[in-house]
Amino acid sequence: MTNIWYIVGFLIAGISFVFLTIGASWLITHRNRGDVHKGLPYESGIDTYGDTHGRFGLSFYIYALLFVAFDIEVIFIYLWAIIFRADGVDIGALFLAMFAFVGVLLLGLAYAWRKGVLAWR
């Protein structure tokens, strides 16, 4: 259980380090408000037009979906890898089980590949 508290403690220490530095920077920097052009986003020197949070390519979403599928698979594979050489396990059956599991996922990847999802558009 102490591992959890190590992580939480380190998180608190790191975040306070960041905010102390940003705070120290805030104390010594020079600030002024400027005119309306100072607050404009920098888009190569012309005034911004159109909707910034508008539409963007669907391919980002498909990559995210593929990522979720494989990332969850990885958690299973890690547990499998840890018990692979433990005492009293049938190593052959374990190997075949993972072969089938990854095979199904590879079929999915092959389908996505065939459909042309992996090509960047």
């Binding site: 380190f10 790191g14 990559y63 990885v74 990847l109």
Partner: protein
């Protein structure tokens, strides 16, 4: 109030730092003295019973403070080495060979105006660099620097490390979305797509190693690679090491995979609207990440803090200074001046144009270097953690140099090549590596 603010803004940078730091340090000292005077005894008793707390606080502070000079050193390496590769001189004004240039850069960023654009989501805009920086720095908690020198030895170390470093995607997306800039949004989405695509081969390439090691604790993985250098996992997992290296380069957003801040295409990607210290933290995180990735490659595949051969650690030197008695005092009085004179003599005699005091200064500097080398060598053979730390840092900086070298040499890849390479080549290759390793283990065990 306005007069005070105006006169404050006229101070130089050093004056501003001293003017604000002085009162804070003064108040902190008074508070600490009061705290010790009022509640000293119970606090000491509590800490003595919970010694792990003291150990953890020291480790966390050391890791956080260590990241600052690490980033400065890598930035300097990048400036100087790439300059030498391009046949330029590079930084040469501040410090010896310009080595303090990156410190000056850091101070400059600290003193710059921290500005957020009008349309930005202020809260998310401020938290984005924090998220990116934290996801990098959290990895240092489990990295074993030397025998007995690590933040925490977790049994899920590797899984924790990948989980934490995967969170940087959230920070990049936050930065891209909250900046209210089309380039930032595009850069943030691009870097998210790149980082999540290369995360899969990165994680899968280590599974073969996990099959061999049977543990996820980084400390145990390093211990299992002890002895001669052919025990390092790179010789049993060459394909895994190669995939890990390529995917780690893409994870750290280094050339040839630095699409996220491709300045010739999308200005500066997600960091376009950032300035001042919040911008500084993005780049702080990037350079610490280079070190983390190098340290991780060394830990997993190149034996961590193990030397390439079985080193007879630790050697105990039986020196008892007390047995010399008064002679010790004379030695301390006489040996340093004599050594300085001996070191200065060749310069004075060999170069007739040199005045005697310049030769003496050179002799003094050389003597100090000699003493530093002697003390380091003594620590190296006496404590195995000093030697382990030096071996680990030496190997890590070799990989840092490789990353800098790649930046000085390779051109940037195109984004369709980048994504296709991750999904069509690296992912099948890492699965192949996994199955070959598992099959070999099954054959060996049957």
């Amino acid at each position: 109030m306005t007069a005070m603010a105006r006169s404050f803004s006229r101070l130089t940078l050093g004056g501003k730092i001293l003017f604000t730091l002085g009162p804070i340090l003064f108040l902190l000292t008074i508070g600490l003295v009061l705290l010790i005077a009022i509640a000293g005894k119970p606090i000491v008793d509590f800490l003595a019973t919970n010694i792990w707390l003291v150990r953890f606080v020291v480790a966390a502070t050391a890791v956080l403070l260590m990241s600052v000079p690490t980033a400065f050193l890598i930035i300097y390496m990048e400036m100087k080495i790439i300059a030498l590769m391009n046949l330029r001189i590079g930084p040469d004004r501040v410090g010896p060979f310009g080595s303090l240039m990156s410190v000056i850069h850091g101070l400059k960023v600290l003193a710059k105006e921290d500005f957020s654009p009008t349309g930005a989501d202020r809260l998310v805009f401020t938290l984005a660099p924090v998220a990116v920086f934290m996801s990098t720095i959290m990895a240092l908690l489990v990295l074993p620097f030397a025998p007995g020198l690590f933040g925490a030895d977790m049994n899920i170390g590797l899984l924790y490390l990948f989980a934490v470093s995967g969170l940087s995607v959230v920070g990049l997306l936050m930065a891209g979305w909250s900046s209210f800039n089309k380039y930032s949004l595009l850069g943030g989405l691009r870097s998210a797509a790149q980082v999540i695509s290369y995360e899969i081969p990165l994680i899968l390439s280590v599974v073969g190693l996990l099959l061999l090691a049977g543990t996820m604790s980084l400390n145990q993985i390093v211990v299992k690679q002890g002895g001669w250098f052919w025990n390092w996992y790179v010789f049993q997992q060459p394909l895994g090491a190669l995939i890990f290296f390529i995917a780690a380069t893409a994870e750290a957003n280094r050339t040839p995979f630095d699409l996220t801040e491709a300045d010739s295409e999308i200005v500066a990607g997600f960091a376009t609207e950032y300035s001042g210290m919040r911008f500084g933290f993005f780049f702080f995180a990037e350079y610490v990440n280079v070190f983390v990735v190098s340290g991780l490659i060394v830990t997993l595949f190149f034996g961590g803090w193990n030397a390439p051969f079985p080193w007879p650690w630790p050697i105990t030197l039986n020196i008892d200074p007390g047995s010399l008695g008064l002679g010790l005092l004379f030695a301390i009085l006489i040996v340093p001046p004599l050594l300085i004179l001996a070191l200065a003599a060749p310069f004075y005699l060999g170069r007739s144009s040199m005045p005697w005091w310049q030769a003496l200064i050179i002799g003094f500097v050389l003597f100090n270097l000699l003493v530093i080398v002697a003390i380091t060598g003594w620590a190296f053979v006496s404590w195995n953690w000093v030697a382990g730390l030096m071996v680990f840092l030496g190997k890590s900086y070799l990989f840092v140099f490789t990353f800098v070298w790649m930046r000085g040499t390779l051109p940037r890849v195109r984004i369709d090549q980048l994504m296709g390479f991750a999904w069509k080549w690296l992912l099948p290759a890492s699965l192949l590596n996994l199955f070959v390793t598992a099959l070999a283990l099954v054959v060996v065990n049957k």
